[in-house]
């Protein structure tokens, strides 16, 4: 076997995986088709297991493919498909340009690994997925990219938009950056720090100690068909393989490889100059002679480019909002929302909360940015899982994007015609906050935006009209709440349905006048 080619193939697959998944989480310009996004994350282990547990279909068997791959070739998921794993390789490559990083064999933190996996499973069984959501590598990657990196990219985009605008090119356009509550930045920031730290000091220690998926696949990879093994008769104990092993699982004293921690990155295969390391099936043939790995040179031009990139980010030309006068607030009744709203395709809110891993792929994909991570809206146990935030946007009537891309089955695909009738919640009117009542002037912003006319304007005092709800055709899209101009509370808000239901079709009555007859009316 040509080990150099094998390693190159692993790197190629890993690069493609990382590229596609990273783009999916960055896609605020809606450039990626829904199917490509879904395809890119299809193999992700935890989402796929959750999806399978809901729908039991062949198309949800991505996790089974991972299990099979692990049984055949070891933890290739961790080295070639898991975006968080590949991200660590990228961090390592960057870090290696600044300092020499040499790994040394370490003993496994077996009890920590086993405890964390067990703890994750126990918490799931006891009804909370918080620990799983915190530790699942795919979802963690998603949050880092969606919540931390995407806004930075948006800032760069906005900087470019304003530069190109000056030469009258509108290919780039400004996008709205919605910042989250600070609490929501805690986990991605802390985990990103942890991962960078662990990667630089001990390679894939996160994968081999904290990650429950890594631990689970580690049990299987012990029994994998193809494994890394050392041939003691050829080994000169030069420690080149150990130095390059980011899993720190090659023990040259006992001449053994801990296959539960080996992530099948194949680095050792190419670093061994004496053909002392093989990747073979238990009964496999001995391997061919590996070739030299080329040394890495420091490319300063790239470093400069990065500096420039982040420099641009620091100086966006967008002007900050300057509110001239302070208006008095007119709304007096606080809105207490008893049930928060979940995105279309989530059906039963309680079931949704057991399936959403808070990867924030839908947050990235939503064109109106109405899907936002929640803080304690569903309780602290559901930190970071998503909800509809009708203060940042409203659900576009003609859009089904989130339902098409969710990999966990938390949101299931809804055909457009069904989505238009799916009632996420019902709009509630707080008359005492309404402009029409408090100010005695026309408003109707809510009714304007309503796509089904569940909010209509009915006669009030004099020629004034005031909103009236028709629950039967309201779909809870939140357009009314978003548009309602009252402060500090809204005069109309959507109370979520615990279980989404089908609304009636909006009435279609022919207009009284359908064409013009007669002469000019003036």
């Amino acid at each position: 076997m040509n080990y150099k080619a094998l390693r190159s193939a692993r790197i190629a697959v890993a690069s493609l995986s990382l590229l596609l998944i990273a783009l999916a989480f960055f896609d605020f310009l809606e450039l990626m088709p829904d199917k490509l996004i879904k395809g890119s994350v299809w193999l992700q282990f935890v989402p796929s297991v959750l999806l399978f547990s809901k729908v039991f279909t062949l198309s949800s068997l991505g996790f089974a493919v991972v299990l099979l791959l692990t049984l055949l070739f070891g933890r290739v998921y961790c080295s070639a498909f898991c975006p968080l794993g590949i991200l660590q390789d990228v961090i390592l490559r960057i870090a290696k340009r600044f300092k020499k990083i040499r790994f040394k064999h370490q003993k496994a933190f077996s009890w920590v690994r086993n405890f964390l996996l067990l703890f994750t499973i126990i918490t799931i069984l006891s009804g909370t997925t918080l620990i799983l959501n915190l530790l699942d590598p795919y979802s963690l990657f998603g949050r880092i990219f969606s919540d931390l990196f995407r806004p930075i990219l948006m800032l760069i985009n906005n900087g470019m938009a304003s530069v190109f605008e000056r030469i009258e090119v509108y290919t780039f356009y400004d996008v709205d950056i919605k910042l989250l509550n600070w609490v929501l930045y805690l986990t991605p920031v802390m985990f990103l720090y942890l991962i960078i730290h662990l990667t630089i000091t001990h390679g894939r220690l996160y994968c081999n100690t904290i990650c429950p998926v890594g631990t689970l696949l580690g049990y299987l990879s012990r029994y994998g068909l193809y494994k890394i093994s050392i041939n003691p008769s050829a080994c000169t104990d030069c420690k080149m393989c150990e130095r390059d092993c980011k899993a720190e699982c090659i023990d040259l004293e006992s001449q053994k490889v801990d296959n539960s921690r080996c992530i099948s990155c194949f680095n050792c295969l190419t670093s061994c100059k004496f053909s002392a390391i093989d990747y073979t099936s238990a009964k496999g043939a001995p391997a061919g002679r590996p070739e030299k790995t080329p040394g890495q040179e420091v490319d300063t031009s790239r470093r400069k480019a990065l500096g420039v990139l982040f420099g641009t980010a620091l100086f966006p030309s967008g002007a900050l909002a300057q509110e001239v006068e302070v208006e008095p607030d007119t709304a007096t009744v606080p809105v207490v929302r008893k049930q928060y709203v979940t995105p279309p395709g989530s059906g039963d809110v309680q079931e949704f909360l057991t399936k959403c891993t808070a990867c924030h792929l839908c947050v990235s994909a939503c064109p109106t940015q109405v899907i936002q991570p929640s803080r304690n809206e569903f309780g602290w146990k559901h930190l970071m899982q998503v909800r509809m935030d009708f203060h940042t946007g409203f659900c576009n009537y003609e859009c089904t994007r989130c339902t098409e891309i969710c990999p966990t089955g938390a949101l299931t695909s809804l055909p457009l015609e069904d989505k238009k009738l799916t009632q996420l919640g019902k709009a509630k009117f707080v008359e005492d906050n309404c402009i029409v009542k408090t100010e005695g002037t026309d408003c109707g912003a809510c009714s304007e935006h309503c796509p089904t006319k569940a909010v209509s304007m009915v006669p009030y005092e004099g020629s004034l009209k005031i909103p009236e709800m028709d629950d039967s055709i309201c779909i809870g899209c939140g357009a009314c709440e978003y548009a309602c101009p009252t402060t500090p509370y809204k005069a109309i808000y959507v109370k979520g349905n615990a279980v989404h239901v089908l609304a009636d079709k909006p009435k279609e009555e022919k207009a009284k006048k359908t064409e013009f007859e007669g002469d000019f009316p003036f």
Binding site: Y173, T441, C443, G444, A511, K512
Partner: protein
């Protein structure tokens, strides 16, 4: 702005006289009303044709595009692109009309023709599904975003009663010519949306208007800058459930087009076409009272063209 407006008006007046001579006879033949030949008119209404056809007839009767657009000028066209719906639902200005307008501006020698709207639904979907993005591009114009606050700049509205300042899209401030292309619709808040109401799409903070007497704010903002030309699309008219509409059942095929330099006059005529009296729409009354324009059509020189 005042000064520019003045210069603009004086140039327009000069051309007006010139155009009266050159287009006089031509216009008479096209405008088969034969009531008068005082071309250009204060207001022209056309009925019975297709949108582009009606536009061209009205434009001729108004004195031709060269009365409004000079060689080398920049033009901003403001259609209504507020909603993510298909053209047949008549929530957005007819794309073929927008295309024809952009084209004629370019033919008149405009350096650049821009179009945008501050949409209500997701702006990209509005631009796309209204078919207006395609129409503007096909005609050789530029479609420009208006989706974030950065595109808007603060202006004072000295004559405003409730609205004394607003953030206005930079293109309106920078362009030489401003052509307003509303679609006539029923409107849950403003009773009707026509020319004056369409200007709400060039400002950023619309919530303020809703909080502070919508009709007064619409009139107040119209004191700031009047479009050079208003072209009201009343071909397909949303008779109820406006401004977004629910289905095509809300739409009547009225086959009208109204053109005027005067927003209040255009709104007044369009309201009558809709079947309402201008007095039923408070912002038209306020606009008249504040001297923005003239809602009384009887006192105006009106061209009526039937196709």
């Amino acid at each position: 702005m005042k000064r520019r407006k003045f210069i603009h008006k004086s140039i327009a007046a000069g051309i007006y006289t010139g155009a009266a001579f050159s287009f006089g006879r031509y216009g008479k033949i096209l405008a088969n009303t034969a009531i008068n030949d005082d071309i250009p008119y204060d207001l022209v209404a056309v009925t019975g044709g297709e949108p582009v056809q009606m536009y061209q007839r009205a434009l001729n009767a108004m004195g031709g595009i060269s009365r409004y657009v000079k060689k080398g000028q920049t033009v901003v066209v403001k259609p209504n692109i507020g909603w993510d719906v298909v053209p047949d639902k008549a929530a957005n200005t007819n794309p073929s009309l927008v295309k024809a307008i952009v084209k004629s501006c370019l033919e008149a020698g405009a350096k650049e023709v821009y179009a945008f709207d501050h949409t209500c639904d997701d702006w990209k979907k509005c631009y796309q599904n209204s078919k207006i993005e395609e129409a503007v591009k096909d005609a050789g114009g530029k479609i420009v975003p208006g989706n974030t606050e950065r595109y808007y700049e603060s202006v004072d509205i000295p004559e405003g009663k409730r609205l004394t300042s607003a953030k206005v899209h930079e293109l309106i401030l920078e362009s030489d010519v401003f052509i307003n292309v509303p679609i006539l619709k029923n409107h849950g808040s403003a009773k009707l949306t026509i020319a004056m109401k369409n200007l709400m799409g060039i400002v950023w903070d619309r919530g303020y208007w809703h909080r502070n007497d919508l009709h007064q704010c619409i009139a107040d903002f119209s004191t700031w800058r009047q479009p050079d030309l208003n072209i009201v699309d009343a071909y397909n008219v949303m008779m109820k459930n406006g401004p977004r509409g629910v289905s095509e059942a809300d739409v009547a095929r009225m086959k009208f087009l109204v053109m005027s330099d005067d927003m209040v006059a255009a709104d007044s005529a369009s309201a009558k076409i809709f079947g309402m009296q201008p007095d039923e729409v408070p912002h038209i009354n306020y606009g008249h009272a504040m001297g923005i324009g003239n809602k009384d059509l009887d006192s105006q020189n009106i061209g009526r063209i039937k196709i």
